[in-house]
């Protein structure tokens, strides 16, 4: 294969006065072609990251940098009980978001496999939570749940379950936020897992049927392993979407009541923009970033190890 106008043959080529092997020449060409976009990425992403890294080592406000404190902000973050509460809810929120939306999305994708009247319409309707802007959907959930006179609390009371404060009670608020997250996220899983299911060879499923594998055993021995790779990738993406999810929580509860639904990202935002402690807030974001990078490396390794198909 030759790239662009670079002349590369099996014997190699000359680059200035240096003789290069074909492999070296190809690598150089590829590096040269990638260079402009690498520079652009460094300029766009690298600079702010570096800037933020410096900022996390100062104890200033939004207006002045203050004094250099080294890793002082980080040490303080790790001693802060509010941080650990946020870690705890971030983990809960992420697990619920990933596994909940996967279970719902995958389940619906399985149901949609067999044709039934109105399937095309259903497919569109099921994507609605994803299509509707989150500001709109969080608003409608608020109308549905927020006050004791909203629709759902009234309904719950009517069937004799007493007065449930969906957003005012800390535990209920945590559950509500997680359910809302599942609701806005399952269409993504439905699309991805639906694609993976479509890709399964029909004959393979028939071969399994002839081999006596049907029902739940089919799910366990055929469908889950054959879609595992897609599942892992969808999980990784949803971990990022959940950990970094600011609007879902901020629009529904603002992190309350009593900080019960504050995730790390919400905490970082509030620290920077409400408490005016940029060094402290940025330090929290950095911790999240490092944790996510470590997690994604681990999960990507798992995918490679599973080496399915």
């Amino acid at each position: 294969m030759t790239l662009g106008t670079a002349k590369i043959d099996k014997k190699g080529t000359r680059f200035g006065n240096t003789a290069l092997s074909a492999t070296q020449a190809r690598r150089l060409t590829l590096a040269g072609l990638a260079l402009p976009s690498i520079l652009l990425m460094v300029a766009i992403n690298g600079y702010p990251i570096l800037f933020a890294a410096f900022q996390s080592m100062y104890d200033g406000s939004l207006l002045n940098w203050g004094e250099f404190v080294g890793f002082g902000n980080y040490a303080e973050v790790f001693r802060d009980p509010a941080f650990w509460r946020a870690v705890r809810f971030t983990v809960i929120f992420t697990m619920a978001g990933v596994l909940g939306s996967w279970a719902v999305g995958f389940g619906l994708a399985l149901l949609m496999l067999k044709p039934f009247p109105g399937r095309a319409l259903f497919r569109v309707l099921l994507l609605l939570p994803w299509i509707v802007p989150i500001v709109v959907s969080s608003m409608s959930w608020n109308w549905l749940l927020a006050t004791p006179y909203s629709l759902l609390p009234q309904a719950v009371e009517a069937i004799g379950l007493g007065r449930v404060m969906f957003l005012a009670d800390p535990t209920m608020a945590m559950i509500t936020v997680c359910v809302f997250k599942v609701w806005i996220s399952y269409p993504f899983m439905l699309m991805i897992m639906g694609g993976a299911l479509q890709a399964i060879d029909k004959n393979v499923m028939e071969a399994a049927e002839v081999d006596g594998c049907s029902g739940l055993r089919r799910l366990r021995h055929m469908i889950l392993p054959m879609t595992a790779r897609t599942t892992y990738i969808a999980w990784i993406l949803m971990v990022f979407f959940s950990v970094n999810d600011f609007p879902t929580i901020y629009l529904l509860t603002g992190g309350g009541p009593l900080s019960s639904t504050t995730t790390l990202i919400v905490m970082a935002y509030r620290t920077v923009f409400q408490d005016f402690l940029p060094g402290y807030g940025v330090a929290i974001s950095f911790i999240v970033t490092i944790a996510l990078v470590a997690l994604s490396i681990f999960l990507l390794r798992q995918i490679r190890k599973s080496s399915l198909q």
Binding site: D201, E206, G212, C213, H221, L308, Q309
Partner: protein
Amino acid sequence: MARIELKNVSKSYGNHEVVWDLDLVIPDGSLTVFVGPSGCGKSTLLRMIAGLEDISAGDVLFDGERANDVSPVRRGVAMVFQNYALYPHLTVRDNIGFGLKMAGAGKDEIRERVDEAADTLHIEPLLDRRPAALSGGQRQRVAIGRAIVRDPTVFLFDEPLSNLDAELRVVMRVEIAKLHQQLRATMIYVTHDQVEAMTLADQIVVLRAGQIEQIGTADELFSEPRNLFVAGFIGSPQMNFLKGRHIGGGNIELAAGGRLHMPGHELADGEPVTVGIRPEHIVTQSETSLVSGRVDVVENLGGVRFAHTTLPSDETMVVESRADVRPKPGDNLSIGFSNRHVHIFRESGEAANRLTESAIGDSFRRVE
């Protein structure tokens, strides 16, 4: 082992009839081949026998018992698919052993029986690989291994060799024939390739548009095709068809010129007919010639040549010639044939009934 019977079986998708009111018996231990052009319903028929496809009307009987609503695994069938349909996430060993595992066999038993099947098919070195790391031929062996390990009552093959290259196809064809001799199990084999059908089958079922055109052994189909379709489908190169007319007294006048005396057929005077003659039954010696043809193209296969000729009637005719005659494009060939090799078809496409065998002579006819 099982004897399979289809009674008035039909299959339709909406208004579209794929198989229509079909009766068929597949004897115990036989190798039956369903053959026909694509869309003839042969695969659908096989899948109905497998239990993968619902039957719209009629019954499928396994050893006399109605099996319409019995699951594939309870029917005891094993199937080999055209694209092999191996489980991509399992090793070869687990692929072959999967059916046994599902049936609840013990680990030792599975291991033993997988080893046995692998030995039969010479795939022991592949047992720890995954399907993606196998060649087409190897995958086909694994697919067959997956079938034989379960010791099924019926083997179903759905165009199993279509995805292999020509050379490997011949090898695997022989292996399947051997396997049948060894196992003596009932096998049903679907193909669109008449050579596969002819070489493998105890019984060939020729299908067209969801109906059976003819059932018989390879010899029967070859020498006594019941209609134009079977005559054209069986045999390679195809049988030549010439237009003609019965002018009475068993004499048939060909559009290409020449006259055949074919007594003993149930034909009306003046009835238009189609005369069928296979390329290998044509003689190109001048004293026996009936019509003449101009050679357009010659296909040389080494031991044999096929001359594609055009007759005066603009009909084309393929003539087989052995080593001693070497026709060239542009040559005029004198074409003759013994009337004992001639097939007469009526306008409906059905073969004309013969009245008596003894009335048919064995002489060559000259151009008149």
